[in-house]
Symmetry: C4
Subunit: 355 residues, 4 copies
Amino acid sequence: MKRIANLQDHEDAARAVLDDGAWAYFSGGAADEITLRRNPKAWQQWSLAPRVLQNLRGGHTHCQLLGQTWPFPLLVAPMALQCWAHPDGEAAMALAAASQQCGMVLSHQTSTDLHTVAQLALKDPERGPLWFQLYAHGDRGALLDLIQQVETAGYEALVLTVDAPVSGARDRERRHAHSRPAHIRAVHAQAAASGAGLCQGLADSAPTWDDVAWLQSHTRLPILLKGVTHPLDAKQAASLGLGGLIVSNHGGRMLDTMPATADLLPRVADEVQGQMALLVDGGIRRGTDIFKALALGADAVLVGRPCIYGLAHAGAQGVAHVLRLLRDEFEIALALSGCATSQAITRQHLWASTP
Amino acid sequence: MKRIANLQDHEDAARAVLDDGAWAYFSGGAADEITLRRNPKAWQQWSLAPRVLQNLRGGHTHCQLLGQTWPFPLLVAPMALQCWAHPDGEAAMALAAASQQCGMVLSHQTSTDLHTVAQLALKDPERGPLWFQLYAHGDRGALLDLIQQVETAGYEALVLTVDAPVSGARDRERRHAHSRPAHIRAVHAQAAASGAGLCQGLADSAPTWDDVAWLQSHTRLPILLKGVTHPLDAKQAASLGLGGLIVSNHGGRMLDTMPATADLLPRVADEVQGQMALLVDGGIRRGTDIFKALALGADAVLVGRPCIYGLAHAGAQGVAHVLRLLRDEFEIALALSGCATSQAITRQHLWASTP
Amino acid sequence: MKRIANLQDHEDAARAVLDDGAWAYFSGGAADEITLRRNPKAWQQWSLAPRVLQNLRGGHTHCQLLGQTWPFPLLVAPMALQCWAHPDGEAAMALAAASQQCGMVLSHQTSTDLHTVAQLALKDPERGPLWFQLYAHGDRGALLDLIQQVETAGYEALVLTVDAPVSGARDRERRHAHSRPAHIRAVHAQAAASGAGLCQGLADSAPTWDDVAWLQSHTRLPILLKGVTHPLDAKQAASLGLGGLIVSNHGGRMLDTMPATADLLPRVADEVQGQMALLVDGGIRRGTDIFKALALGADAVLVGRPCIYGLAHAGAQGVAHVLRLLRDEFEIALALSGCATSQAITRQHLWASTP
Amino acid sequence: MKRIANLQDHEDAARAVLDDGAWAYFSGGAADEITLRRNPKAWQQWSLAPRVLQNLRGGHTHCQLLGQTWPFPLLVAPMALQCWAHPDGEAAMALAAASQQCGMVLSHQTSTDLHTVAQLALKDPERGPLWFQLYAHGDRGALLDLIQQVETAGYEALVLTVDAPVSGARDRERRHAHSRPAHIRAVHAQAAASGAGLCQGLADSAPTWDDVAWLQSHTRLPILLKGVTHPLDAKQAASLGLGGLIVSNHGGRMLDTMPATADLLPRVADEVQGQMALLVDGGIRRGTDIFKALALGADAVLVGRPCIYGLAHAGAQGVAHVLRLLRDEFEIALALSGCATSQAITRQHLWASTP
């Protein structure tokens, strides 16, 4: 891992080892990939407003999520079919996350059994949270069965994806259709519905607010909605007593020309006002980006593609290095901004507009 | 048509088959082509504001135009001399449009007889609207004769172009003057006036508001004005009881440095307030662009160059694929924005400014 | 002059024939050339707001300047040492300007005798205005002698340059110092002062408002100030009863990071309010740019480098073609904007901001 | 030094002679180098608003700092390990600065003895100020010992760096770790603390406002804080009766995505209101940049990397040429803006926004 100094270096290293199909699948976005490009750029465009000569003794990076204290405000985002990036797949991802005191959200479309992942993720006492992400298009019976397995395995929250009633138009991925090896598959996901009407009927089976209420009544786990970006949707979620929200545009993979999440987060945060856990993903590539997410109201962040890139070229060790870089950079951002802890970060540590 | 995943791919394929003269003619714009570039970019810059967990059952893409319901809010824009792009020209265009439930506006400068086109366009019961576009520089007698043919042939509206009193300064086209094969010609157009004064007298014969009133009194067809971009002109059009407006900058081919139509549309829509049909063209390359046009007040859109590109490299099949891509992308945009139908789209589905 | 369709083509042709020293001298600007690049770009960024279906009969391009009517609102800007660009120098420039019904401002640093130029410029009855540009650093006696020659020769106004108390820092030019052939020289200019103090004392001899008053009392010609860009300076000029102002940043050759003249003009125009003639130069490359200058309050424009480029590669014929292109494009801009004459152009023909 | 016309040319010349490690060390910035790039660009984006026909007789460039008059408002910024750029290091830098009537701030991490530098810097009667920059992480006893040497040697002020409680994440530098020759070392700096906690405990030893008060009570020299960018920190500094502030983002080397200093300066200046000396560094590459800094409220500026670049390729002579270019360009900027002296510069000599 020589000469690798930041997450872009990991991305370059991954590009060199992945074939074109896998690269298109993991790195690609919807349509013209405008939202994909907006995500990292928007974090960069928020300007930091550091304070000097503050007392930094006893600093730490702890965060609070769903009533518990965790070492570091970062979880690996749910991503499908990680064994396509590296044979060790989700198992390596879970080990690396725990080793760096970060959390993990396992994807509904995991290519590794959820029990295997849970055992590896939970054994480290210094670990971060372990959550499970769900699509809810399918049959309710099968869904309940899956939720029971998830609860039993020790997952601590359900993350319901709400921004994907149908698939996005991913041109790059489509140009490499059928390039996925047959043995790489989603071991817990159901086949999607198919029929007449809007988007071949797929939209007909998409979850609605009613399905969220049904889900709440059938699990003891807290539920977070992933993909909420509109303040009115955040308001409705708050009224349902949900566990939290993840501000996300699905990494730019669903609806192109959505704004960057760095620009959506403060609007949702204004609505949420601390009533629920608030997380964000999309384009986070630097410790300063994590700092900014917290300044804009997030309790923690999720990081996706960079972890896949670390995994692709160097397995668990690669992921661990990605997360270590982010931890180090976040600590530096804290200190250089004059904040001893994550809790000291405020909206005033960013300039409202480029001064 | 392998590996073609979007309209840009069709453009690339067309570039490969068209000679420099035809390419300059169809793809070129006025002067520095600033408006030409602004058009697609402006659609991209409007940011989508999707809602989640909406009920999408029974979704469809129907639209209302001039008192009728049509399957899909898209018409092929009027473009001259389509036989220069492909020998099948306007005939192929009409067949492809109807096959994809899209409408067509035949150009006054069609290189195929208007009756031939009408017969092909009207035979499909699932078709979209069929309109005829007019310049009105010439002799009134000849114009009345043409209108009578148009009515007889079954065209359902007249589209009067009002943004072209003289020709634009198309540098690229001028560099390839005289490259058009002799057999490609406008079969229904009169020769333009020529004399002294502003722009060699051409401006003297340009239509005025008086000519619009005269035209209204000499046809039973509804009249739409194409090229209206100023709210005051929209106001005047509304006072005349016209059928509709098409917000257009002539695809960037007339007056360079006009704004993009995506930026002009909402101003015109504020004036029109549903009193007339409102359409827009210019730079629409994605289903999300159509979604945005409807959010900004349009009832339907016109798409020009992409259809020519599909035609150029693959005839009717190419055009059909272009239109199919736009339909699929529009359905996805509807579903991912939380809208079951075109009518559910509102101004609130766009962010007023980049949030 | 085959394949030349616009002024950029003329620039490219000039680059091909001029040596590096002459190219640096004529095309270069001050420091990082930020203002040089800003000038043309700012015209492009103003967006046109055309009106449709207007009556364009009897259109023309006449303009009023200093109480007289001229055929076209364009003068060739004063530029030094034109014989360095082409042996025919200022003589060819004057002939070409008159042939295209455009005016000319001869530079104090002309490389051709002012009488020769006047004779060529004045013989065409359809010509534009003929003015003489002055620096006023030098000895008053010599200056009075020059002014007397200028009056006798038939020049119709004096243009006093006020934005050049010292020379600009032209890096490109400095890298090619001493490349000018010995026979190319300013035939009417005095050597500049040199001594101690700010800019080696050059600033000490720069003209002040007092010198303007002195100049007014020693000539019967109207005086225009060239290089005024601040509303307060325009106010002072108006109070002195001067003939007019030329909004100019010296083509980006003096003080880098000044705004583009297209952005300065409306501020000066607000102050001038028609009390004096108002002209503008800098970056005008299109007929639409001339249209915009008039919409923003100018009575006429000056064009510099493009004329030098036409001259460089094709002598008088090249300049005439440059001016012809601008005339044709301006006529088209008038017609497509719905204006029959220059006087019909208003501030409302531009969008205040990108709509 | 042929063909060198501006500071960019010096940078290019330095790049050609420095090895990759030294180049990364001197030219690199933190993380994605966004702040590094923002610094020079922000000066460029402020637009000058010159006045014409002003009386410029008796112009000069004097400035006031800490109660004294100096010839020119420019100091060489403190930079570590200058012997790595050129064997003559800080000695050559001091000589060149004095020869051009500019000041110098010697870095705490100087690679040349502070007494040697002081002797060279102070011998020229036309010299600028000589200051010493301090980090204050270390042991107080050692610090007091150093301050006594600094006072004895004749330094006229202490510059306490407050924006570096920990090191920045400099990726480029990290990729070339261990490339520094063993004989290049900081001759007066202590080793940094290392231990547990935030940034390995480094943050624990960072100076606080209490340490500033302590420092004030242990030196007779005026103290300036370097790295203050927030108005509230400026307010606190003013309340302590400090000598001055240097608005700085450490040349983009500490906390990436901080704003450019050209954008921070006016906010700090509004707070300081002339109560203390106010200086700025970061991205100053032109005489117009110095003019703008003064217009925005600075009393003087510091220039860093360009001096290192001059030093690297041509020793003291290179630095002198860099400073000479800045002096000449600043004089030109004064004259062309209509200001006879630095004191004549006002906020009104800049446009508030691009007009």
